[in-house]
């Protein structure tokens, strides 16, 4: 270690009480903003990885402002449009879970479809489709599982379709935690079983999903669908992604504004704190000057001292945020970011740390920190030593 650095660390330890408050406040601010960045990045990562498996275009029928089932004839019409390589009807709807007064989302899927199988295998590595279809099975989201378990529905659950029959469906598996953000309240089952439970006629679907591999053709397909059926809502994968992205950017933006206000207040405190020239400060400067330190040397030494404080506050803040978000699951902040689907979301945060975010955070904090103290430090450094040294 260099002698000057050694002396710097000695003085830092000597001034530990003076720096402690600033250090803690700085670390807290950093932790707050870093947590926001980590949560936002993690949510985006989870959403985009989940949405990647979503359909390119979703077609829904609206009538009098309400979502209606659409006829199966629309499938053929959609498939006839140039660029559409696949059209598939979907069955889904809400199931009211009386014990908890909550709604689950039942989604019927065609387990014989190759793409569906691939997607499922990506989500659940050990899924055996054949075994799944041998009896009435379902795959449930983490939120659903939690509620089922509360009432000891550990192996199966009995649904009551509108025709007053009973449908006993076994729990095959639970969706992974990474899908919890948008799949917490989901129940996946065979399309025919879902149709029965939701009471949807054989020639109708809840909506239709289309596969349009060429991104450039999606807009044309979108326009053609719009022309052929005026009472439709067409949602593209990008729309869904944008919706979620905007949502989290908006929430992140609110935090950025709050952070800016907190940072400005903090810098003001910092400025005032360093503007107070204590007897001890004046004495230290007088000693340094009397043994040959220049004003420039004192300012740069004090800047180095404070840079170490700011740097370690940054490191502590970032580590604190990592623990807060990824170990403890960001209590308090998670509710602000996640909000609710039908069920309270119990998504955990997948680590998503971008170096650029950390660099930005460093610059947003350390640079204003150093700028706020440079003038007060200069004032301390130019203190006349003759009065102190008597």
């Amino acid at each position: 270690m260099l002698p000057k650095l050694h002396f710097l660390l000695l003085l830092l330890l000597k001034h530990k009480k003076k720096h402690l408050g600033i250090f803690l406040l700085s670390a807290l601010l950093i932790a707050l903003l870093a947590s926001t960045l980590f949560i936002s990045a993690s949510l985006k990562k989870d959403i985009f990885s989940t949405l990647d498996a979503q359909a390119d275009i979703t077609l829904q029928k609206y009538q009098a402002g309400r979502l209606m089932n659409l006829p199966s004839s629309w499938l053929d019409e959609a498939l006839a449009i140039e660029g559409v390589t696949k059209a598939q009807g979907r069955i889904y709807g809400e199931h009211y879970y009386e014990p908890k007064e909550e709604h689950f989302l039942i989604v019927g899927i065609d387990f014989y479809d190759e793409q569906v199988q691939k997607n499922l295998q990506r989500l659940l590595q050990n899924i055996d489709i054949e075994a799944f279809l041998k009896r009435k099975n379902m795959i449930i989201g983490t939120g659903v599982k939690k509620f089922f378990n509360e009432y000891a529905y550990n192996d199966y659950y009995i649904f009551r379709p509108p025709n007053r029959s009973k449908e006993k469906v076994y729990i095959y598996d639970t969706l992974p935690q990474t899908t919890a953000l948008i799949g917490s309240d989901v129940i996946l089952m065979d399309i025919e079983e879902a149709r029965k439970i939701l009471g949807i006629p054989r020639d109708e679907f809840s909506d239709i999903i289309l596969e349009v591999p060429n991104k450039n053709e999606r807009l044309t397909v979108y326009e053609k669908l719009l022309v052929s059926h005026f009472n439709t809502r067409i949602i593209t994968k990008e729309d869904i992604q944008k919706h979620y992205e905007n949502l989290f950017n908006y929430k992140g933006g609110v935090f950025m504004v709050l952070y800016s206000i907190a940072l400005a207040t903090f810098l003001l405190i910092l400025y005032q704190r360093y503007s107070l020239i204590t007897t001890a400060d004046a004495k230290e400067v007088a000693i340094l000057k009397s043994v040959g330190w220049s004003i420039k040397g004192i300012i740069s030494f004090k800047l180095e001292e404070n840079f170490i404080v700011a740097f370690f506050a940054y490191i502590f803040g970032v580590i604190g945020a990592l623990i807060y978000v990824y170990v403890f699951g960001a209590p308090l902040l998670r509710n602000i970011f996640l909000g609710y689907n039908n069920l309270q979301n119990d998504a955990s945060f997948t680590p998503a740390i971008h170096l650029s975010d950390l660099v930005l955070l460093f610059l947003l904090f350390v640079v204003p920190f150093m700028l706020a103290i440079i003038i007060p430090l200069w004032r301390v450094a130019i203190t006349e030593p003759n009065e102190v040294l008597k």
Partner: protein, 222 residues
Amino acid sequence: MIELQDLCKTFESQNGEHFTALHNITLHINAGEMVQFQGVSGSGKSTLLHILASLLKPTSGRVEIAGENIASYSDYYASLYRRDTVAYITQSFHLLGELTLRENLLPPLVIKELSFKEINAATRKALEIANIAHKADEKVANLSGGEKQRAVIARAIVNDADIILCDEPTANLDKANALKFLEIIKELKRKGKTIVIATHDPLFDDLDIIDKRFMLKEGHLE
């Protein structure tokens, strides 16, 4: 070595009043001499020493040290002068209380960008001359008054400066410690240092090693 010509220092108070602390001081001190400035409190002794240490600029006049007018130095050159040429011993023990005695000797050495080996050698030598080596690793806050004074001396001489300025060096010492201080000062004079002492302590009155005595009265040299 030290040449003062028509040196004046005037202070301006916050309400705009002027106070002249030094009036047209002209004197000469040869290299290796020990001189004493006598005078009551407020006579201008400390102000004169601060000017000699380049901690204060004179209002007018010349302050020549080894042929150079240090009054015209910028802060940077003044700091080099304080680092290499002059050592300043104060009446109050201005030390960094939380650090050990050895660590208190670091400030004048780290700015010279010396290695740890060189720093240790210089520190050991200074502590031995100041007769305080046995307390090197003690926190200075725990030292007695006499030990603190010797710690200040050790720090002042650690860079082997040619000129040593002492401002009321025995004011806060008992007689035994004051005598120890005199022994150190004598040793420094034997080493050829130029020593300037500002004091009205009668202990210095009969000291035969003092080459010149100057009396300051209300800023005038008598």
